[in-house]
Symmetry: C2
Subunit: 321 residues, 2 copies
């Protein structure tokens, strides 16, 4: 690996001049510049970022903390982050906390060692105080935290849209198979769902399930006990797919007897029969916007929209009328 000295020697100038060339900073004669540039190419010189950062103290690197990677929401958001980071010249270090606070703290230390310029938090842990100690720009993803800028999916809107669709399509006996109700996202969806129902003098019942590994038995039991059910809102496409399969076994026709709405617009939603109507979160956009907010903070630009709310889309397919 060649270094700045090698380039200086070959171009017959000082290292200061080389530095000026690679940073496009300060005065440098046109001809000198060309000389230096030729030397750079000849030596295949790439500046050492560690030396640079050691001096300048900005690493052009951000940290991302997610509770999982193998979950369609997170890796799609990650793709959005990565895209925008790449565009803006930032590197991404990712921490997969696995919902383990100690693991998360360990990563936080790594991040400090690496002088990260900013942090994107998508975890559910409660070590915000540790984040604040870092004294670097912070943006929270999919969770609104006091005093921290955030980018969240419009979960209230998602619930509202789902309720609207079911009611407008004639549903009267509605159930919400939702995710774990401790989660804010789940609470928000419930809120929005209830909001529309209330506006129309309706109510619904609820069952709490896991997003990824829902307890089928709870679904079966509910449907058996409530044969009049004609509208079902599910907090994930996975739940919705299981519901579809249960309805099939019960001899209910979808969407004729019962209408079903899923959440996430995953691949699943057009691979099951009938194809799922579902609420689509703009995950890529969430990632991009989070990175954009963080960039504003890192580069001391004004952040106009401190709490960005990314809209959802209702994708109508075959499981609703």
């Amino acid at each position: 690996m060649s270094n700045i000295k090698d380039v200086a020697k070959l171009a017959n100038v000082s290292v200061a001049t080389v530095s000026r060339v690679i940073n496009n900073k300060g005065y440098v004669n046109k001809e000198t510049r060309i000389l230096v540039e030729e030397a750079i190419i000849k030596l295949n010189y790439i500046p050492n970022e560690f030396a640079r950062t050691l001096y300048k103290k900005v690493s052009k690197t951000i940290g991302v903390i997610f509770p999982h990677l193998s979950n369609s929401f997170y890796y799609n958001v990650l793709e959005g982050i990565e895209e925008e980071a790449f565009n803006k010249g930032y590197k991404v270090m990712i921490c997969n906390s696995r919902e383990d606070a100690s693991r998360e703290e360990e990563y936080l230390k790594q991040f400090v060692k690496y002088n990260i310029d900013g942090l994107l938090i998508g975890s559910n842990s409660n070590i915000q105080s540790k984040y604040k100690e870092l004294n670097i720009p912070l943006v929270s993803i999919d969770r609104k935290i006091d005093g921290i800028p955030s980018v969240t999916s419009d979960n209230v809107g998602g619930g509202y849209r789902a309720a609207k669709k079911l009611v407008e399509s004639g549903c009267q006996n509605i159930v919400h198979f939702r995710g774990p109700s401790i989660l804010l996202t789940v609470k928000d969806r419930s809120l929005g769902f209830d909001l529309y129902l209330k506006e129309n003098n309706l109510t619904c019942t609820r069952v709490d399930l896991a997003f990824i590994d829902p307890e089928v038995q709870l679904i079966t039991n509910y449907l058996n006990d409530h044969p009049k059910t004609d509208g079902i809102f599910c907090d994930s496409d996975i739940i919705a797919s299981l519901v579809l399969s249960e309805l099939y076994h019960l001899g209910k026709r979808v969407p004729k007897d019962v209408q079903v709405i899923g959440y996430d617009n995953t691949l699943l939603s057009h691979l099951v029969t009938p194809k799922l109507t579902t609420i689509s979160q703009r995950m890529f956009e969430i990632g991009k916007e989070a990175m954009l907010s963080l960039k504003c903070l890192m580069e001391k630009e004004e952040l106009i929209d401190v709490h960005k709310l990314i809209p959802v889309d209702l994708i109508e397919r075959e499981s609703t009328k």
Copy 2:
């Protein structure tokens, strides 16, 4: 942020002593050590990795190049890599090439700037010469390349197992709905599939499809034209799910009339009706093993198994007899 000088001052020792303490290297008196450790805690001191790396030239960081992130294979492998890297004290920088060679080269430069100690390549591009120029340890994932250690899934075995299962369950008219046949993985699966068929004096026909967005029409046409088909091997669970849905529309019963085997053991496979029999790749293990191989190379340990072949598992569910 405090630095080593601050710690030295507070503990009334020299920076060299502090360095010895934090690196656990060289002689240092017990009492002095305690003094230093107290100072470290008091100042919340975390060594600056940039200064360290600048001197030592090992960054304890690896690069990972993948063509996508939003694909179950890659993000699961990534989880395995990340897990093992974390255990061994390595950081991970990830490059999402989006199958774009220029993007990949840009990342490669970043990697050089950041002194990465090793590189894990999971892309399909053909810029190996660029990789070699880096002169750092390399491990290829899911693709055997001459002169580079690799970790691959046993695709030949996967095809073989699938054929064996179909034939042993009585299938005679077999079709292989495979992925794009330019891909080595697809070729290998075909090879293994044919191998078993040949051993039993059977053959099969083939249709090339995309893994993620298969052309449904091709499936429909084939099944219409070949009503005698009784065994179907699909190169992804997505393809298999579409096949299931087509068979349903054609009034064929699965597994009674036709048996179907998928690939990947994704969530999908137990969300469709009937649940899919499928070949499961040990993605997490592939990631871990790749990181392990790379670690051997980076730390100049002997790499016993240069080309690791990770076995696959046949997961029997309801789509086969």
